[in-house]
């Protein structure tokens, strides 16, 4: 069956529920990447992110009728399931470290001027990003969500509020507190080596 690029999600879901595999594949391809990134940035673990995304779509396969188009977009619904799975994962494994499979070379190229850096500058930049990643993963979940969506995924406050099903003001205040916590954590992380050095 042919699928139009702009075919609506709920139409695709209906077709998918009736056994149209192509419609399901289209739905998956449309939504998997942001959901995967959200899960990855919230958990810091590629395996967990992969499992979470798989779980989300298995839920969609098994019980497509749970989605009610009257209550919101499919994207929000899928984010909701992803959030639940992430929470469950974090309850099981409270904190994990690093995105194991991120290509270090590509990762370091994400900043400007990487090609004119000295090895020392490169190492410092790398360390700083590691600290930022670690600090984000240490944030309480509600602040982490806001920082991940608005800071990393760069969604607007309105979009984030829609996905997290809360008022824009809540996002704004969570983001503010998240940022303040993040700054405090980073300051602490950056001070730790200095203090350790001072103690010696």
């Amino acid at each position: 069956m042919h699928i139009e690029a702009q075919e609506r999600d709920d139409v695709l879901l209906r077709r998918s529920a009736k056994g149209d595999e192509e419609a399901f594949t289209e739905l998956y391809r449309r939504h998997q990447a942001p959901l995967y990134r959200f899960a990855l940035r919230m958990s810091g673990n590629v395996w967990a992110a992969e499992e979470i995304v798989q779980d989300v779509f298995v839920t969609l396969i098994r019980d497509p009728k749970k989605f009610d188009p009257g209550r919101g977009a499919l994207r929000s619904y899928l984010y909701g399931i992803t959030r639940n799975r992430v929470m469950k994962h974090l309850e099981r494994v409270p904190r994990e470290w690093l995105h194991e499979e991120i290509d270090e070379d590509n990762a370091s190229q994400a900043g400007p001027g990487f090609d004119v850096m000295t090895p020392a500058e490169w190492a410092e930049l790398h360390e700083r990003r590691e600290q930022v990643r670690a600090a984000v993963l240490e944030l309480p979940v509600e602040f982490r969500e806001a920082v991940v969506l608005c800071g990393l995924e760069e969604l607007s406050y309105e979009e984030a509020a829609q996905l997290l099903e809360c008022p824009v003001g809540t996002i704004r205040s969570r983001l503010h507190r998240g940022r303040a916590l993040l700054l405090a954590k980073l300051e602490m992380l950056r001070d730790t080596p200095k203090r350790a050095g001072a103690n010696r």
Binding site: S16, G19, E21, F24, T25, Y28, R29, Q32, A33, L35, Y36, R37, L40, R41, A49, E50, V53, Q54, F57, V58, I61, R62, H99, I102, N106, A107, A110, G111, R128, R129, V132, R133, V136, V147, G151, L152, E153, E154, Y157, R172, S173, L175, H176, R179, A180, L182, L183, L186, E187
Partner: protein, 214 residues
């Protein structure tokens, strides 16, 4: 603007562009409050780092194996559902066929049993043997225990004899003509005893000559 108001407005002044008054107040607050100014400066640096960290995973997506596994799950799921539907339909079809078969068999059996209905009628008669027959039949007679073949009267159907009652009456042979039977005219005035099988409607449906009849 106070520090609290500044915090509420958010560290990211770019988001305040739409609200010019708040933006101006926030800038003014940054000028006079070293704490918030330091916080804002740190935030600017952190924002760049966050952007870089975000960019590292900007193109990240689930590996192709996830799609493969999901498609497999999808196929399995829908194959199972289809198989279940087919099984349910087949089950109902079989059940319906069985019901039809039973109904046809029962009707056939009923049709075959029809001619021997008098036996059942006799039993019915036994139960109601104390009941007097209607006055239009003349003499009241006890039901017969005799076995023997009844002859259906013209226009009677075997199926209507289920609850028939057997009554024995004495009549002139010529009266049989009124029931549609052929009568020997020479002996039309003879008195004979006849077992009549009377239906629910009180009409005789079949008859036989009683064994001690003349």
């Amino acid at each position: 603007m106070t520090c609290e108001e500044f915090e509420l407005a958010g560290l990211d002044l770019e988001t305040l562009r739409e609200d010019n008054a708040v933006l101006l107040a926030a800038r003014e607050h940054l000028r006079v409050c070293p704490h918030c100014a330091a916080l804002h400066e740190n935030w600017q640096a952190l924002r760049a780092d966050l952007h870089a960290v975000g960019a590292e995973t900007q193109e990240a997506e689930a590996p192709p194996r996830v799609e493969m596994r999901l498609r497999q799950e999808y196929r399995t799921r829908h194959k199972t559902v289809k198989a279940r539907r087919v099984a349910v339909i087949a089950g109902w079809t079989l059940a319906a066929a069985a019901v039809v078969l039973v109904a046809v068999s029962w009707i056939n059996w009923r049709n075959q049993v029809g001619p021997s209905t008098p036996a059942a009628a006799v039993a019915t008669a036994k139960v109601g043997s104390t009941k007097p027959a209607g006055p239009e039949l003349g003499e009241t007679l006890v039901a017969s225990n005799d076995t023997g073949e009844f002859t259906l009267l013209p226009g009677s159907l075997p199926g209507t004899l289920e609850d028939a009652t057997v009554v024995r009456v004495q009549m002139q042979r010529g009266s049989l003509g009124a029931l549609g039977l052929t009568v020997n005219e020479e002996r039309a005035s003879d008195l004979i005893q006849v077992d009549l099988l009377v239906g629910d409607d009180g009409q005789p449906q079949a008859l036989r000559l009683a064994q001690n009849a003349n």
